[in-house]
């Protein structure tokens, strides 16, 4: 299948690009580290529920900063060059996969950093791992798609926040609800419905963005 080859090549390109200049990844690492340290200095000790909420807020802002560059960073002429070579769906899929991996990394780093400074509030690991996985996918797809939209405008950074924050709230609310199961030794009854809802929302955003991107890219 040609499209899978294209995705693999584009994904390799994204990772290679990241590895060569290390600018974005080190910036994000520093961002996460600094935020965790600020949170630590402000709270010192915190309730497990506060821990969960702060985790997702750090995750939200780190993600939006990590993903916003995916389309903005590349010049229009280089994007035109890509479109002459590959299928637009392959381009979007590669960016989504790359951003999901990046957000997974950010998620685990935030978890590790918070555990190091503030202490680990997670008792029940399975729902929390699921939340990080499904949350990374949902955030990555939504932010990648919205960054593709906002990259078309002159004022992309502020438009990115205006467009994407209301849209990720369903994902964020469900993630916080799901993660609250992680601070209790036993998961509550509603855990399965939260997981189902997250999977459903992730499928909706993946489906819609793959369906709509071919209409978005051409200028």
């Amino acid at each position: 299948m040609q499209i899978f080859n294209e995705i693999a090549v584009l994904l390799g390109k994204e990772i290679k690009l990241e590895w060569r200049n290390k600018y974005a990844i080190s910036g994000i690492l520093l961002y996460v580290g600094a935020t965790i340290f600020i949170v630590y200095m402000a709270f010192i000790e915190m309730e497990p529920v506060t821990w969960i909420i702060l985790f997702w807020i750090i995750m939200l802002f780190a993600s939006i900063n990590a993903v916003v560059k995916s389309f903005v960073q590349e010049s229009r002429s280089r994007q035109l060059y890509y479109y002459t070579l590959v299928n637009p769906t392959a381009l979007l899929t590669a960016k989504i996969v790359y951003n999901t991996l990046l957000l997974l990394l950010i998620g685990f780093l935030t978890w590790g950093g918070l555990s190091l400074f503030v202490g680990n509030a997670v008792v029940n690991t399975r729902p929390f791992l699921l939340a990080i996985g499904l949350g990374s996918l949902g955030f990555a797809v939504t932010f990648t798609f919205i960054s593709a939209i906002s990259a078309k405008t002159d004022n992309s950074a502020s438009l990115m926040a205006i467009l994407s924050f209301p849209l990720v709230i369903p994902i964020l609310v469900t993630l916080v609800n799901l993660s609250k199961n992680a601070i209790e030794p036993l998961a509550s009854e509603g855990v399965q419905s939260d997981i189902n809802l997250l999977i459903a929302i992730d499928l909706i955003v993946v489906g819609m963005s793959l369906l709509l991107y071919p209409y978005l890219w051409r200028d």
Partner: protein, 353 residues
């Protein structure tokens, strides 16, 4: 007048019908309050009752009242004295023992009136037993069957405690919200058409329907806040339903900000259509799924039953469904005016160039 289409007349007629019938049809006969709310077994209790939409002093001999324990056991009133057009004093001889093995038993009060119809107040009276003996209670119980209930024949709305007259807001708050969904669906359909075939009129229609939908959404939120003020105690109580509604309105406000960011009409049309479709897909879990999973005061959320099955009787349906259609048609008319204005503006710009 010849160039106004039939559906616009229909919309106006339905809205006039909604306002007149929705505001003028009276509520059923109901019981606002009774005092005292509690009694002890073996005593003779006199309950003072305040009614609603009733005229007791015209029909003192036809009044009947019962305390209802369950489907089979009811206790008739020993005396009924009319204190005023809306006030009654009803005497009950409570037996020394109740036929239940509970310390405190709640009774519903049924009040029958030939002219006004039957009124029921659930959990009207709590009776405390001094000592529990269900067998003696069964032996002592004098059952008075509930019979000859009058079903009021006129057009009335259900009488519900706490809601009372605000039940009329169903035709505005709920109907506006449902017709907002219809307008947003119409906008998404036009966005899809624009994406598939970029003609300026599809974009203009999508924008018009979205703006009217947003306006109806704001009206729905405001009418909901007015209702919340009377039933929940305050207009804004950070209920999940209110928060998700506010977020949904933010999503659509962002649509207009996105549109204003483009100069080129083709690019603006295409990208805002793509955003509109994407946003609508995420709106479904936001306003229909999440409120059902979180605690909420709103009907149809947090495990509460949706306002409908029980509260929406056949009289209300006769106004509720036309109200939805009427609001949707009025919304479509406003949208129609907007995109025709757009077309005229385009034409003049072309002519002036």
């Amino acid at each position: 007048m010849g160039n106004i289409s039939w559906w616009k007349w229909l919309g106006v007629a339905l809205i006039i019908y909604t306002f007149t019938a929705g505001m003028l049809v009276p509520l059923q006969h109901g019981i606002v309050e009774v005092t005292p709310r509690s009694a002890r077994t073996g005593e003779q209790v006199t309950v003072e009752l305040t009614g609603y939409n009733c005229n007791y002093d015209q029909q003192s001999e036809s009044l009947k009242a019962w305390l209802k324990l369950d489907e089979e056991k009811t206790l008739g009133a020993s005396s009924i004295e009319v204190l005023g057009p809306r006030r009654l004093a009803i005497g009950f001889d409570l037996p020394a023992y109740l036929p239940v093995d509970r310390r405190v038993q709640d009774f519903s009060l049924i009040l029958e009136s030939k002219e006004d119809g039957t009124a029921i107040l659930p959990t009207a009276l709590l009776v405390t037993q001094d000592s529990i003996d269900p067998e003696k209670g069964i032996a002592l119980w004098v059952n008075t069957a509930v019979n000859d209930l009058t079903v009021s024949t006129g057009m009335t709305f259900p009488f519900r405690p706490i809601i009372y007259e605000t039940i009329r807001n169903t035709y505005f708050h709920v109907a506006l919200w449902l017709s907002m969904m219809l307008l947003f669906i119409a906008a998404v359909v036009y966005s899809v058409r624009y994406v598939r075939n970029p003609m300026p009129k599809w974009d203009s229609k999508a924008r018009a329907f979205t703006s009217v939908g947003l306006f109806f959404g704001i009206l729905g939120l405001v009418t909901g806040m007015v209702w919340a003020k009377y039933t929940w105690g305050q207009a804004w109580s950070n209920d999940v339903k209110q928060i998700t509604t506010a977020i949904a309105l933010l999503v659509y406000l962002a649509y207009f900000i996105l549109r204003s960011a483009f100069e080129d009409p083709e690019q603006r049309g295409r990208i805002s259509a793509v955003y509109n479709i994407f946003a609508f897909a995420l709106l479904i879990p936001l306003i229909y799924v999440i409120p059902r999973m979180v605690d909420s005061l709103h009907p149809g959320a947090g495990g509460n039953p949706a306002f409908g099955s029980e509260d929406l009787d056949s009289t209300m349906r006769m106004i509720f469904y036309p109200a939805i259609i009427g609001w949707a048609l009025i919304g479509a008319w406003i949208a129609n005016l907007q995109y025709r204005m757009d077309a005229v503006r385009e034409e003049w710009i072309e002519r002036l160039d």
